[in-house]
Every structure is written in C-alpha cells, then in structure tokens.
Symmetry: C2
C-alpha cells in the first residue's frame, strides 16, 4: 500500500519536511529530491536526508518514483506537472502541496494520463520560514491535509491518504473550489489584510515616527508576524486564487465600511452586535483543538 | 517620593494587577480598591490583595489616598474623575489607565483643581481576559506605560513615572493626540479589523459550513484571538478615539482597494512591492524586543 520510492520536487520548507519524514514515518525506502536551485541542492546534500539529489527537472528520478510530490511555489506547479507527467512510470501517483487548487487543476487537465493518478493536496501546516533548512519531520503532525482528487473513488486516493496519515496528519477530501473558498476565508484574505495593515502602518510612520515600532501592541505585532511570510509565495497564492480572494475581500470591505459608519455616527449598538457575534467562533476554534501552540505559521 | 496610599477604582484586569503589585514592588503601604459591582468587591475581598474594599464611589478612601488610579472602562473615566476630584485630598495625584486619552482629557478639563495633579496614563499591557481574577502583579514588567500629563514639568509627573517604573514598566511622556494616533495604528485599528474579518468569516459560514473552524489556519486563528477581547471595552475605545481610528481605517481601506485591484488585474509587481515593504518593520519590531513572548494580549 505504501510508496517504496518518492521524488520531492522543490526542497523548501514543505518539500524538505516531507523528505525528512518519509522514511522514518511513512515506510518509504528511497527519497529523491530535486530543486532548480544549485544552492538548495547543495544544502540538501549536506543535510543528508535524501538518497539522491538532482538540480533541474530530474527526469531520471521521475521515471522511477512511485510518488512524485510537487513542492514548488503555487505559480509553478502546473508547469512542473506538465513537464514531469510524460516521463512518470505507469501506476505512479503525482501530487502537490500548493495552497490553491482550482487554477492548478484546470491548467494540468490537458496533460493528464490514464495510467498516472493525479491527486492534488494541501497540507495546512507551515511556518513563516522557507528553504530546506527550515523543514522538520514533525511539521505535519496533528495538522490537516486536504486532498482534492479528480476521482475520489480511485484506490490511489486511499494510498496517498495513508501516506499523509503516516506523517501525522488528518486527511480530508474536498472539492477544489470549496477548498479555495474555505482557504480564502481562513488563510488567504487574513494574510492579505495583514500585509495591507502593516503597509498602512509603515506609511503612517510619516505621522507617527518610529512610535509604531516602539509601542507595537499585540494586535499589530500579530499582524506583522503574519505579514512576514514569503511575499513571492503569497503573491502567487492571491493571483492563483483570485476569484475566491476577491469575493471574501469585498465582503470584508463592506463589513468594515459598515463598522466605520457606526463609529462615525457613534452607533455603539451596531459595534457591540458585531463584536459579540465573533465570540462564538473563537470558542469553537479553541474547542476544536485548532488553537494549540503550533510550530509557527500555517497557511 | 513614592505614594503611601493608593486607591484603585475599577478592579478588573488592569486595576487588580496594579493593586497586586503596588505593595511588593512600589513601596505602597495601603492599597484600597473600589468597584461598582458587588461581585467584584466580594472577589477582591476573597483574593485578599487590598487593605480595604468599597462598593460604589468610595469617597472615604478618595479623601485619604495619595494616588487615585481610575481603572474603569474608557467611556466611564471622565465621569468617575469628575465625581472623585472634589473629594480628593490636596496634594494627591489622579491618574487613569484608559486606552484613549484626548477625549477623556477634554471631558475632565472643567473639573480640574489646582491642588490635585491630573496625570492621565495608559499601560501598554493586557491580556484578552478581564475581571479581578485575571490580574497579576507581573503584568506591567518590561511593558511601556505612556503618560500624557497636562503639565510635563510638574514634579508629580516624575513621582508617577517612578511608580510605574517600580511596577517594571518603561515610561514615556507623550502628547495625548499623538498617543491616540499611534495607538489607533498599533492597536485600535488592528482590533477593529480583526473583529471585522472574524465577522465576515462567520457570515461566510453559510458558504463554507463549519470548515472555517475546522481548517482555521494561523492567519485566521490569530485574528480570532485578537477579536476575543472584551467587546464593550473595544466599543468604548473606538467611540472615544473616533477621529484617529477613522483616519487610519480610511487609509487602510484605500490600500486594500489598491491591492484588490492589483489582484483583479494580475498585477503581481504591485503586490510584491507592497508585501516587501512590510518586512523591514517586522525586523525592527523583533530587534526592539517588542516581540518577546508575553503574557497575552496587550492593547
Ligand atoms: N510555507 C507554507 O507555510 C506552506 C504551507 C502549505 C503549503 N505550502 C505550499 O508549499 C509549496 C512550497 O512552499 P515552501 O514554503 O516550501 O516554499 P520554499 O521554501 O520557497 O521552497 C520552494 C522551493 O522550490 C524551488 N523551485 C521553484 N521553482 C522550481 C522548479 N521549477 N523546479 C524545481 N524547484 C523549483 C525553489 O527554488 P528557488 O528558491 O530557486 O525558487 C525552492 O527551493 C508552495 O506551493 C506553497 O503554496 C506552503
Ligand atoms: N484589558 C486591556 O488589555 C487593557 C490594556 C490597557 C489599558 N486598559 C484600560 O484599562 C481599563 C480597565 O480595563 P480592564 O481590562 O481592567 O477592564 P475590566 O476587567 O472589565 O474591569 C473594569 C472594572 O471597572 C468596573 N467599573 C465600571 N464602571 C465603574 C464605575 N463607575 N465605578 C467603579 N467601577 C466601575 C467594572 O465593573 P462592571 O463589570 O460592573 O462594569 C469592572 O469591574 C480600561 O479603561 C481600558 O481601556 C485595558
């Protein structure tokens, strides 16, 4: 049932974490790693968690691997998938870890093969750091991993689910559009707003001097931590999840405009009504165990 | 130089923390506490950190205290100050801990006395909990306390500064309008935005079901923590810091609208430019030591 050999393409935070965990936790015998960057390849060789490392497309590994997981930035996934699919071995599985799903699935449809299962995925786990040195084998423990299979009933879905469960994750199958809407709400728009607010505060420094830094209270400090995530990755996320992101942002701006109006007209009741409705969701998050201390930022 | 006796009015998180720390850290001999709520009075009596507790205005304590600190909700501070000032003993100091300063100072001006120093203050310290049981003596350690004196040169300013330093705080004198602008940026607007976004997500649940809770990733989780703060206090904060809050909110909406447009038109460069400028401020916050783990939420 498990995969004897896997190829990780893109050995950053997520890729290197999977590579580190695959043997010890998921019964994989051979772990190959490929990255387009010579620096990353050198680092992976030095860290020693791979049985073979290649710079570039790594077709020779792709031709042998039972499972290929694309861990490159979201905007690159479809392109790398299109390049690797034709050389993969019959019966193998192709997956990915990208933070958005619908656009990528649409882009790879023309390249699908009957004898290779494509099962897109997204582990809801991460930190605000990137690169191969930031990874660690425990990253996925007790986190969710969402799979958005093209065919839920295919036996390889259970096989890939078992792989992620072996890494410690809870696996959920989801429709890709729904994934993108849920993640726009819980992750993408919060990041966009954090980036925006921190940018607004930077501009406010012409008014406030360095006092924004000096007296950065926790509301703001939390925002700066969220906004410290990799700008390139997030640009890609917003562009590849455009519709759902814009939809949620527009609802948010409407709501904020209503609260702004309530402040302007000293309408305390509207403010209180709104604030009170947010308490219940917090309680449910704490109850669901999703608020336990974790290793860092997830997305 | 220090205060022999102090009266804390409002024994919630902040008031009870000051009361707990005053004797052991600031050389105070007698700590009186007053609250309008019978429950709170009973709890304070049971917890035993006060030498005397009164329900209601506590004029008998106010007539004897060297320092009175108002720790009631922001919207109540001016009213309580107006009631207590006439009975205070000559030479005493009146301060407060309210999160906004200009509106309160304007409201108490007609009640000032020549022989009582009024020195408004705001400790940048707190947690998302409230009430007398949430307080603890270490709350103010290594946090800033901003004082916005009516007369910076008055010797009582140094005396009150020394009191807060004894509680472990760094004291900064500031103009009240500037305080309100800086705090609108670093605290009030971040809280408003967190409340708004969590509310938007609650409304999105008609679309996403309980998956917002289930997959609440860290961006969103951080927002729900911020939005778990006391709704009544925050309503008061926004209403009493209306101008600065609206000013920062409007800048924020402008910036978010620009980013929304960039996403709509796939203008990755604008996104990246914006995201990159937020990195530097994060670095400066970490360097300034403001990002050390703390006891909870500050505001
Ligand atoms: N970070 C998170 O919190 C998180 C959480 C869940 C999912 N994800 C998803 O995980 C994926 C990777 O994220 P990450 O944080 O691990 O990123 P990362 O640390 O930046 O690593 C990405 C790696 O992929 C390499 N790469 C880029 N294009 C490539 C190509 N065409 N062929 C081979 N390698 C290539 C990059 O090299 P260069 O540096 O030379 O570009 C880099 O080494 C993304 O799709 C992201 O959406 C991230
Ligand atoms: N929480 C923070 O993070 C934080 C940080 C810095 C500054 N502050 C400021 O500190 C002040 C207190 O906040 P907190 O968090 O300590 O609030 P809290 O825990 O809710 O405590 C406020 C207490 O004041 C009592 N009270 C209300 N009106 C009163 C009156 N007229 N006379 C006597 N007592 C009265 C309240 O009783 P009832 O329950 O009956 O109303 C309550 O016991 C606020 O001005 C706030 O802006 C708060």
């Amino acid at each position: 049932m498990s995969f004897d050999s896997i190829l990780i393409i893109g050995a950053g935070l997520i890729g290197s974490s999977i590579a580190r965990a695959a043997k010890s936790k998921a019964g994989v015998f051979t772990v190959w790693v490929a990255d387009r960057s010579a620096d990353v390849v050198e680092t992976v060789e030095r860290l020693g968690f791979a049985d073979g490392v290649a710079e570039g497309p790594a077709h020779h590994f792709a031709a042998k691997a039972d499972l290929v997981i694309l861990c490159v930035p979201p905007a690159k996934i479809a392109e790398v998938a299109a390049g690797i699919l034709p050389v993969m071995k019959p019966g193998a599985v192709l997956s990915d870890v990208g933070s958005t799903k619908s656009a990528m699935i649409k882009a790879i449809r023309p390249h699908l093969r009957d004898d290779v299962s494509v099962i897109p995925g997204h582990p809801i786990a991460g930190t605000e750091f990137s690169g191969p040195e930031a990874g660690f084998a425990e990253l996925f423990e007790n986190r969710w991993c969402i799979l958005t299979p093209l065919d839920d009933a295919h036996p390889d879905v259970a096989r890939l689910s078992a792989f992620w469960q072996a890494l410690g994750s809870n696996v959920e199958l989801m429709d890709p559009d729904r994934h993108d809407t849920v993640l726009a709400t819980t992750s993408h728009v919060p990041h966009l707003i954090a980036y925006t607010l921190v940018g607004t505060a930077v501009d406010m420094e012409t008014v406030t001097g360095d006092e924004v830094v000096k007296f950065s209270a926790s509301g703001f400090r939390d925002f700066t931590r969220i906004a410290a995530s990799d700008p390139v990755m997030w640009r890609d996320v917003f562009l590849s999840n455009r519709e759902a992101t814009l939809d949620v942002v527009e609802r948010f701006i409407e709501d904020l405009t209503a609260l702004k109006r309530a402040i302007r007209w000293s309408d305390g009741e509207t403010l209180l009504d709104h604030f009170a409705k947010t308490r219940d969701i917090r309680r449910r998050i704490v109850e669901s165990g999703q608020d336990e201390p974790n290793f860092g930022r997830d997305d």
